[in-house]
């Protein structure tokens, strides 16, 4: 006769459930503990060379609200992280324009209450009303960038020409170059170079873009978003393709570096401040945003990170003012576009993966 130890199995199952419950309690404890937490905290999610953590700690001292600053490398990473939690855990986010459009569409950010913002009149009116947020319901512009080609005067022996050929055509730029590492930006740049526009990109055109990028890879020294200043200054690479946040910062610190804005046109990026839909302390978030845009803080960040601010009353050193003016003049003359969401992720993935693997 087989004795089926029912009681033993039952007790063991109970013990199993008990321990499983304890483990899950442990794992979910942050969610539970946040109901008991009395202190306020704000989470700021920004591009890594925008915000000086030590500087904004002043906000903590002034208001007693703790700040958690997190960084992202490119906007794709930002989108993935925010989508994962549905916006929970984030408060103030500083994405680029195309990410703002996607975030708004997916309901991950909330409409801004303009009455709580005290600096709208200090922003240059030219930066309102762009494609990604025509009425600026969700976002306030923070800084602007333009795509440029930076080069090392000493190392680049030929005469620089005002064209993307310097980045895409080996005949014009014989030395190794630094290329940007964001899939969307690289692909759309190639599209602009080959076809003059990023609209109506079908599979055939994407193939050509892919071939161009693969060909370019032969003389790319490194793909990077944030180390181009090092490669230019150390004269390892003569040319770098990147956004002005990178290129101008490098050129500002090293007088041997120059930049051009090509004739074929270029892309502009508007970095904006948005508020997460599931922000726990929206009022405090507004306080922080006001703090961030206060003149002293903006001046500090401009000085430290060489960004181009959208505010009208900031102080920039002479060279930066000249560089900003030059860029703006060039942007008025050439075709300017944005990295709009005209390509699906799958399309960009296909090109990017094959580029990196070859």
């Amino acid at each position: 006769m087989i004795i089926f130890p029912v009681k033993k199995i039952f007790i063991r199952l109970l013990i199993l459930c008990f321990w499983t419950a304890i483990i899950f309690l442990f794992l979910f404890s942050p969610k539970i503990s946040q109901y008991f937490v009395t202190g306020k905290s704000l989470s700021v999610f920004t591009f890594s060379k925008f915000i000086d953590v030590e500087c904004i700690k002043k906000f903590e001292k002034e208001t007693g609200i703790k700040l958690n600053v997190n960084y992202y490398d490119n906007n794709d990473e930002l989108l993935v992280k925010i989508r994962k939690t549905g916006g929970a855990g984030f408060d103030v986010i500083i994405p680029s324009d195309y990410a703002v459009e996607l975030l708004a569409k997916e309901g991950l950010i909330q409409k801004l209450d303009k009455s709580k913002i005290n600096f709208l009149d200090r922003i240059d009116k030219r930066f309102f009303g762009f494609y990604f947020d025509p009425k600026n319901e969700y976002s306030i512009p923070y800084a602007w960038e333009a795509y440029k080609i930076g080069y090392n005067k000493v190392m680049f022996k030929a005469t620089p020409i005002n064209s993307w050929k310097m980045g895409f055509d080996k005949a014009y730029a014989p030395n190794p170059i630094v290329m940007n590492n964001t899939p969307r930006e690289a692909i759309m740049l190639a599209a602009l170079y080959l076809f003059g526009s990023i609209d109506n990109l079908d599979d055939e055109k994407l193939e050509k873009i892919k071939d161009l990028l693969i060909k370019q890879k032969q003389w790319v020294e490194v793909y990077t978003d944030r180390r181009s200043d090092y490669y230019l200054s150390s004269a390892t690479c003569a040319v770098a393709v990147g956004s002005s946040g990178e290129i101008w910062r490098a050129a500002r610190q090293d007088p041997n570096l120059e930049f051009i804005v090509p004739d074929e046109g270029t892309f502009m990026i508007i970095d904006s401040v948005v508020l997460s839909a599931k922000s726990k302390f929206p009022d405090d978030a507004y306080k922080f945003i006001n703090f961030l845009y206060s003149k002293k803080i903006v001046d500090h960040h401009i000085d430290k990170y060489s960004i181009f601010s959208v505010l009208t009353d900031v102080t920039m050193d002479e060279r930066s003012t000249k560089a900003a003016k030059y860029t703006r003049d060039r942007l008025d003359k050439v075709k300017v576009d944005f990295f709009r969401n005209v390509l699906t992720e799958d399309q960009m993935n296909k090109v990017w993966v094959e580029l990196k693997v070859k």
Partner: protein, 260 residues
């Protein structure tokens, strides 16, 4: 014959010397650069302690270090406790035949572990924070600690336990007064190993870190990515000094550091 012996007794030590040099080259580099006035360039610009001052003034570093230590100590505590109980109470039962399960974490590359954890955590809408990191690190830790403690425990002479029971000790007295002290070397080396793994772990922190947890490896990674490493060099130099002292202290207690 003499010459050949002299030559061969020279080649091997010098080869090993080169290997050690290879292992220490970057360490020497970052120690030197932690004192360099301008560590972004490759030339020596003058001696300075300023990076160390920045290090102690930085609140980010303090936060990262605190979080990392919390996670590390919790992981050590959980791994060792669970492992010891598993070995002690489970010996002989069918649970112990499942010991081979613990080798699973060693067989999979860490990136696979991290992505699997991430997927499950996001599927269950679990908040990513310190508990999830502790969970991952304990997982790694168990794989190393269980075999160490198990083999150490199996070597304990039965007669000791028998004698202790015969002399009237209860089960917990036997456990705390006899078995734990004998297992102490294994426990200590296991704990040390988990500390190192947890403080150095990158993959699990990278994939499973939430918006509010900054750990030391993540901080170092964000600095290294942008090329701004003076504070990182200072931290690593200090860590090296601290850990050397720790190791010297522990070995002075004559603890066998057997890793495998």
């Amino acid at each position: 014959m003499e010459l050949r012996r002299k030559a061969s007794s020279f080649i091997l030590p010098s080869f090993v010397g080169l290997i050690y040099l290879f292992l220490y080259a970057p360490i020497i580099v970052f120690i030197i650069f932690s004192f360099n006035k301008n560590p972004y360039s490759l030339k020596w610009h003058g001696f300075t302690f300023s990076w160390y001052r920045d290090l102690f003034a930085s609140s980010e570093v303090a936060e990262a270090l605190t979080n990392s230590l919390i996670v590390a100590f919790s992981a050590v505590f959980l791994s060792v406790t669970m492992a010891v109980f598993y070995v002690f109470y489970g010996l002989g039962s069918f649970l112990n035949r499942l010991t081979i399960l613990f080798y699973g974490s060693l067989i999979a590359p860490e990136i696979v572990l991290a992505t699997c954890l991430l997927s499950v955590f996001s599927f269950l809408n679990m908040p990513l924070g310190i508990p999830s990191l502790i969970a991952g690190h304990t997982l790694l830790g168990l794989a190393y600690v269980v075999p160490i403690i198990k083999s150490s425990y199996e070597e304990i002479d039965n007669r000791l336990i028998e004698a202790s029971m015969d002399l009237g000790a209860t089960e917990s007295q036997t456990f705390y007064k006899i078995i734990v002290p004998i297992l102490l070397p294994a426990i200590m080396s296991g704990a040390l190993l988990i500390m190192i793994i947890s403080l150095d772990d990158f993959f699990i922190s990278f994939f499973c870190s939430g918006p509010e947890t900054l750990t030391l490896p993540m901080y170092i990674f964000s600095q290294v990515r942008t090329g701004a490493t003076p504070i990182v060099n200072a931290i690593s130099t200090l860590l090296m000094v601290v850990s050397s002292l720790l190791i010297l202290l522990l070995t002075s207690f004559k603890i066998k550091t057997r890793f495998f």
